[in-house]
């Protein structure tokens, strides 16, 4: 069956079988391999992408369900060769080690901040409960998200005053 999705801003139409999961569509059909698969019970969040701006677990969406939508993967987050503030923050705060959970974690974090630009630490932890990391103990991931929130707030206001 035909499916038309705008992936990272590029419109495409493909012929897929009904049971094709969105995550496999992105990886195998679109060739976007950054989004990873870490489980088979919608638990780990490694496959998180944005579907019409909302973070979703792409392993639990059929490609056909995404027909007519706009999907963004981590490969589509950076613009004009510059990392998104969330990506930059993850590097600055050492929020990744093996990197396998990272694309999904970054997309979940970006969505969290879009919905709640000034989260508390507790809100960050709860906001990431759909994303599992085995390497970092989450400590620096939380710092990364809080740092990103600060830097995005500063950009928004044009302020250069630091708050960290």
């Amino acid at each position: 069956m035909q499916v038309s999705i705008s992936v990272n801003g590029v419109a495409r139409t493909d012929d897929v079988e009904p049971r094709l999961l969105l995550v496999h569509y992105l990886r195998d059909v679109c060739g976007l391999k950054a989004t990873n698969i870490g489980c088979d019970t919608s638990s780990c969040g490694a496959c998180t992408v944005h579907l019409d701006g909302d973070s979703v677990k792409s392993c639990t969406v059929l490609a056909l369900q995404a027909d007519g939508t706009s999907v963004t993967t981590v490969e589509g987050l950076a613009t004009g060769g510059e990392m998104h503030p969330v990506q930059a923050a993850f590097q600055a705060e050492h929020g990744l080690q093996c990197g396998f959970c990272t694309p999904g974690m970054v997309m979940a974090a970006a969505s969290l901040l879009a919905e709640n630009p000034h989260p508390s630490e507790q809100q960050v932890r709860e906001g990431l409960e759909g994303n599992i990391c085995r390497c970092t103990g989450y400590h620096n991931i939380v710092r990364s998200v809080l740092t990103a929130a600060d830097s995005m707030a500063q950009s928004a206001t044009g302020s250069t005053a630091g708050s960290r």
């Binding site: 909302d54 973070s55 677990k57 639990t60 059929l62 759909g130």
Partner: protein, 270 residues
């Protein structure tokens, strides 16, 4: 990981969805957000041969006041329940409970209709819907009918819906801002409740204390008769048949039901 093969059709109206269900019978399943059904299909615990996608049905996602009730479209996503100012004002138990379902990604896809139709006794929204004394509006080939929440949940993943019916709306009484609470006891974030308690307006419903969400009727009777919260909550486990699983044995579940009911009622009163 990979579902068994199936045919897929997208319904563009409720009538079309119902007609497709009628045509395919037991072989067909509706999918909205897909976050109850697809995980089961990926583990091949569910193998429908036809999926009817109702995720894009127009005018099926809404929260609006209708007399002394709030009418919620079945395809309203959990995140939209959480964010609905109308719901938070008029039936806050549901708005709050929706925020406990899964995680943010799940809440961006899952719908109240999907969750309620799935009828997992450990799930959050069926329990809150039961506590709310909701009315479920079903549509079938013969038209619409309503079923009280107390008659709707029949057993594990079993409801009073006929195979060719679809849940289209959930109606709950307007309860105002006070007198409600949802308490979910979990081992770890993102788990289903070991036990959960939803209370509003003197009604108490329990998650995971049986094959379907249950009302703590003895507790409700005691409260109505003027008993203290403590005395009423002590009876919360009566009439329940909790399972024994890796998280809890029956004794412990009953104990949790009593403790959490007391705490919920205290929070609702405070």
């Amino acid at each position: 990981m990979i579902p068994a093969a199936f045919d897929y059709v997208r319904a563009s109206s409720v009538d079309e969805a119902i007609a497709l269900l009628g045509a395919h019978g037991d072989d067909a399943k509706l999918v909205a957000g897909g976050h109850s059904l697809l995980p089961m299909m990926k583990l091949r615990l569910a193998v429908p041969s036809v999926l009817v996608d109702i995720g894009r049905l127009p005018e099926s996602s809404y929260v609006r006041v209708d007399g002394d009730e709030v009418a919620i479209g079945a395809l309203t996503r959990h995140c939209d329940l959480v964010g609905s100012e109308v719901l938070r004002a008029e039936a806050p138990l549901l708005a709050d409970t929706a925020g406990h379902v899964g995680d943010p990604q799940i809440r961006h896809r899952g719908t109240i209709g999907g969750s309620v139709s799935h009828a997992d006794p450990a799930a959050d929204l069926p329990t809150a819907v039961l506590a709310s004394d909701a009315t479920l509006v079903l549509q079938g080939p013969g038209g619409r009918r309503t079923v009280a929440a107390t008659e709707f949940f029949l057993g594990y993943f079993e409801t009073a819906m006929n195979p060719d019916e679809m849940l289209v709306e959930i109606r709950v009484p307007r309860t105002g801002p006070h007198g409600w609470h949802y308490q979910k006891f979990v081992r770890r974030a993102n788990d289903w409740a070991i036990v959960a308690v939803a209370t509003v307006a003197g009604r108490v419903a329990l998650a995971n204390m049986g094959s379907r969400p249950l009302r703590a009727t003895r507790t409700e009777e005691q409260l109505a008769a003027g008993a203290s919260i403590e005395a009423a909550a002590a009876l919360a486990a009566e009439g329940t048949e909790p399972v024994q699983d890796m998280h809890a044995d029956q004794n412990y579940r009953r104990h949790l039901a009593r403790v959490l009911t007391r705490r919920s009622l205290e929070a609702a009163a405070g």
